[in-house]
Amino acid sequence: MSTPQDTPPMGRHHAPESPTAAGPRAGNGTGTALVRLINAGKRYGAVIALQDITMEVSAGEVTCVLGDNGAGKSTLIKIIAGLHQPSSGVYEVDGEPVSFNSPREALDHGIATVYQDLAVVPLMPVWRNFFLGNEIKKGPRIDIPAMKTMCKDELLAMGIDLRDVDQPIGTLSGGERQCVAISRAVHFGAKVLILDEPTAALGVKQSGVVLKYIIQARERGLGVVFITHNPHHAYPVGDRFLLLNRGTSIGYFEKSQITRDELTGLMAGGAELEQLSHELEGAGGAAAEIGAVLGEEVAELGIADRPAPAAAPATESDAR
């Protein structure tokens, strides 16, 4: 694996605002966060998809967003990626409040999202995918040799040695495809990478490869928002952890504040028990009583904050 400093970023299309190794390492909280959400929420009509979310990611940091299906992770991504605007709260980039109307605007601010489908076109060659939407032009034509070389080099810099960048990207393994998508985002000047469940569909080995690239990206000074439902993937690479359940934050920790087991417990038990207690309380009568007891137990165990409105800001200030 080559060190990132060997290869200066080559994004000539978005002159990158130097996302190199200058950023602070690991979540020590100094300097302005690249991306910060303060009490952000999102409603779709009467449906509350997300409320009171506070989180941030700084250069050279990985913030993990954990949660089960339907926890609000994808809504969160859509807000950060510029697909949706938050209906409440503040979205700051580099300390400035922003309001994005399209993913393109987010991209122009250096915020790149790698979706689960990776935004790659399976039947197209790797290099065409790499430069899709950012083709290098030579007059009216595209500069194919330059793009092939650059693609190969850039992938090598991320430690991916492809035998042939001309092969359809669909023929790569899931992990390799993730890596191509990540290195593409890095190449085109991303300062913040949002990775949507990059390990979800992968086996153990492939997941390891992807986690390695997340660390690489961090070492290159990028801020990474790593969305996953797997605490075992999140804990080794993460600097901060945001736990979501049913659209609300059930905890926001720095790595020093939480152990892997606690994180796992929160993910596995906390969310589930929490939900169960909610349901029981909602049912009324005896069930409600049991639900309340259950809820207390959960709180005592310290594996989940009750979604009281005050809880989230408190954790946020803790985190700083």
Binding site: P103, A119, P122, L123, M124, R128, G133, P140, R163, T171
Partner: protein, 352 residues
Amino acid sequence: MAQTAQAPVAPPPRADERLGRKSPVARMLARPEAGAIAGAIVIYIFFFIIAPPFRNASSFSSVLYVTSTYGLMATPVALLMIGGEFDLSAGVAVTSSALTASLFMYEFTTVAWVGVLVALAVSLFIGFLNGWIVIKTGIPSFLVTLGTFFMLQGLNIALTQTITNQVSSPDISTLQGFSSSRVVFSGSFTVGGVNIRTSVLYWIVFVIIATWILLRTHIGNWIFAVGGHAPSARAVGVPVGRMKIGLFMAVGFMAWFTGMHTLFLFNTIQAGQGIGNEFVYIIAAVVGGCLLTGGYGSAVGAGIGALIFGMVNQGIVYAGWNPDWFQFFVGLLLLGAILLNTYIRRRAEAAI
């Protein structure tokens, strides 16, 4: 159709770290049009052997001519299919364009070229409308263009009937500018005693342009992307809607060109013409390696597909087979060409 692009043709199976085996031949076989070329060669040899008139140059020039009338349209139709959409109105759009031109120039007694330009505007507009409806409504283009197919078919007849009180356009050959238009759109020249129509040259030129756009420009990259997986293309900033509308307009443009060719060759146009040709265009594109699901194919392939269709159509007549069986043989040979095509492509994919 674009949304399921990930599933359809399973990408060639992986075979890690076995670089050296990929010869230039294997590379060529992996091209979308490889199977079609093989099919074309087989059909050529087949008719060369069984149909003596097929062997002389002037006959082949006539094969090329009929090929060009399909191939001109098959080219943009292939681009559109690579871009993930269909145009079922392509066949009647040719007639619409020719009718527009002839009725305009005749009714207003203008120089022929005026009608030609009006038809160009109308054809581009029809293409724009197809694309715009598809993009705005999200209804599959198969359905949208099926609608416009019927509408154009009806308009062709109703407007012609209303304006001329007949169902064919009036003879425009006495108008000023007719002969120059004819030279441009429907001319012919003689090389070594063989008469060749200019439409054949136009066809080849348009195939080259389309191929260049597809493989050597960013537009081509985007065409593959919007057809291969539109959400991905959108995510990296490709203007998916504009690309698709542009492709529909390219079909409109070529419908105009083909329409002008037909008009100036025959002087009048029957309002009911062109129905059914949309499938010939799509068949040519598919035989030539375009995926029905989009994102894969080539303009050269569509050209070869049109050539196969042209050779089969003419070859059967040259061979003098019982005409009652004509359609059957057309279908049989096309099916054979497609099977060979598929077989070759599978082999090529396995060899990668």
